[in-house]
Amino acid sequence: MTSYTDILPQLFNTLKPFTKEGFRLKEQTELVSELGLDSLQVMQVLLKIEDHFDISIPLNNLPNIRTVQDLGQEIEKLLKG
């Protein structure tokens, strides 16, 4: 359950509460600009994702995470160690 294809649906579910009604999440959805999250909300989303997957995402890696796909790939990388 550590492959990107397994991670993606879980990621959509975790992100859904942070989207506006009717918004359809896609792999290419931009996390900050399209979801309209402020910096505090971004931290809340990350905490939730970290707890769900039982990982810690290093702050150094955040600048490279722009889309849902980037986030999924980062989680995959961390889960595989």
Binding site: S39, D54, I55, S56, I57, P58, L59, N60, N61
Partner: protein, 395 residues
């Protein structure tokens, strides 16, 4: 698109602030009168936002020591210690700091900011991990980045979250640095150090405590939170600054690990900068002696802190949870905080206006830092002014 376009949002934010008539982040102190008074906007103003905890900036012994050093050693060192050599006074300051902490090794840096940059970047590099508190000072973030270690943030003062993250690291926890602060600069709360030390031992990690705001404030001898908690032997390294309780500039790191001395050969913020100038070194040595010889300064600081904390609580302000020299009143909106800050300044009181993103949890704060040198009369005036503000802006 030009490189300078990125400054547009900052320019807009600054213009918005300027509409209020004053820029709270660009205050000019026209004349400094004493540790607790200055002329600002042509008005005598009580300083209660300058981290001058022991009020030593005008101490005659410190001034004399600085003057003598200026005359005998000159205005500056014109280079780094590695290239130009250390002055004897640099070594003597390091010995004084080491003796004060009863630690075998001490290194002095040119600023407190550089002490964090220098120590943290040297201790944890690529392949290592650093766990930092979410409310850490910018110098901690920057020091961690400079070293290239993986940086993981844990929830502020949340021991359970820290343990969760240590557990997730598995074997990597042995190559992990935990960094916490004795007193956090925004809300004035302390790290739960006894519990953090237990975790450090359990997971085989290394622990650094930044005592920037707790040096001279906590502990029987004023060494900080590690002393107050009784865990100095379990803390691997302490960093701190001379720019708060010691009324000078510069920073330091101390440790009982012999490898600590080798930081001098690997730490870029130590190697590639001019060493502290002689007058600064001399005044720091003097205020360190004064602080040790006069514990009553620390007791007065706590009496004054209690006075202001109780005064603001009585007025109905929501404050940080712990009594201490950093007392932050939480204000509901940025606009209110700015208006109240400005009114305080017009009443002759200077505090720090703190707004997001520089604050924890997006809080807007009127942050006070108490000094042992504040008089009862000044504290009464500060409390009365806060009371008037409360009635006017937050009825």
């Amino acid at each position: 698109m030009s490189l300078f376009d990125k400054f547009l949002p900052i320019q807009e934010a600054r213009n918005e602030l300027l509409k209020s008539g004053v820029n709270p982040f660009h205050v000019t102190v026209e004349k400094i009168i004493s540790p607790t008074e200055a002329i600002i906007n042509g008005r005598t103003t009580i300083l209660v936002g300058t981290n001058n905890y022991l009020g030593l900036t005008f101490h005659p012994e410190a001034i004399l020591a600085a003057q003598q050093a200026l005359a005998q050693e000159g205005t500056g060192t014109t280079g780094s210690r590695m290239a130009n050599g250390s002055f004897a006074s640099h070594r003597e300051l390091e010995k004084a700091i080491a003796d004060f902490y009863e630690a075998p090794y001490a290194i002095v840096f040119s600023t407190g900011y550089q002490a964090n940059l220098g120590v943290l970047s040297a201790l944890a590099g690529a392949g290592d991990t650093i766990l930092i508190d979410g409310d850490s000072h910018a110098s901690i973030y920057d020091g961690c980045r400079l070293g290239g270690a993986d940086i993981i943030r844990f929830k502020h003062n949340d021991v359970a979250d820290l343990e969760k993250r240590l557990r997730r690291l598995g074997d990597r926890s042995h190559r992990t640095l935990i960094v916490v602060e004795g007193i956090y600069s925004m809300l004035g709360d302390r790290a739960p150090l006894a519990e953090i030390v237990e975790l450090k031992k359990k997971y085989g990690a290394t622990l650094v405590v930044d005592e920037a705001h707790s040096l001279g404030v906590l502990g029987q001898h004023g060494r900080g939170l590690a002393e107050e908690t009784g865990v100095e032997q379990d803390v691997d390294c302490i960093v701190g600054t001379f720019s708060k309780s010691l009324g000078s500039t510069g920073g330091f790191g101390i440790s009982s690990h012999s490898e600590f001395e080798l930081i001098r050969y690997t730490s870029r913020p130590y190697i590639f900068t001019a060493s502290p100038c002689p007058s600064v070194v001399a005044s720091t040595r003097a205020t360190l002696r004064i602080m040790q010889a006069h514990p009553e300064l620390r007791h007065q600081l706590w009496t004054n802190s209690q006075h202001l904390y109780e005064g603001l609580t009585k007025s109905g302000y929501t404050l940080g949870a712990e009594v201490g020299p950093i007392i932050a009143a939480m204000i509901p909106t940025k606009e209110l905080a700015l208006a109240m800050w400005q009114q305080l300044l017009e009443n002759g009181i200077y505090v720090n206006l703190m707004i997001p993103p520089a604050t924890p949890n997006g809080e807007c704060l009127l942050r006070c830092s108490v000094s042992a040198a504040h008089t009862e009369k000044q504290l009464v005036h500060i409390c009365q002014s806060f009371q008037t503000l409360k009635d006017k802006f937050l009825p």
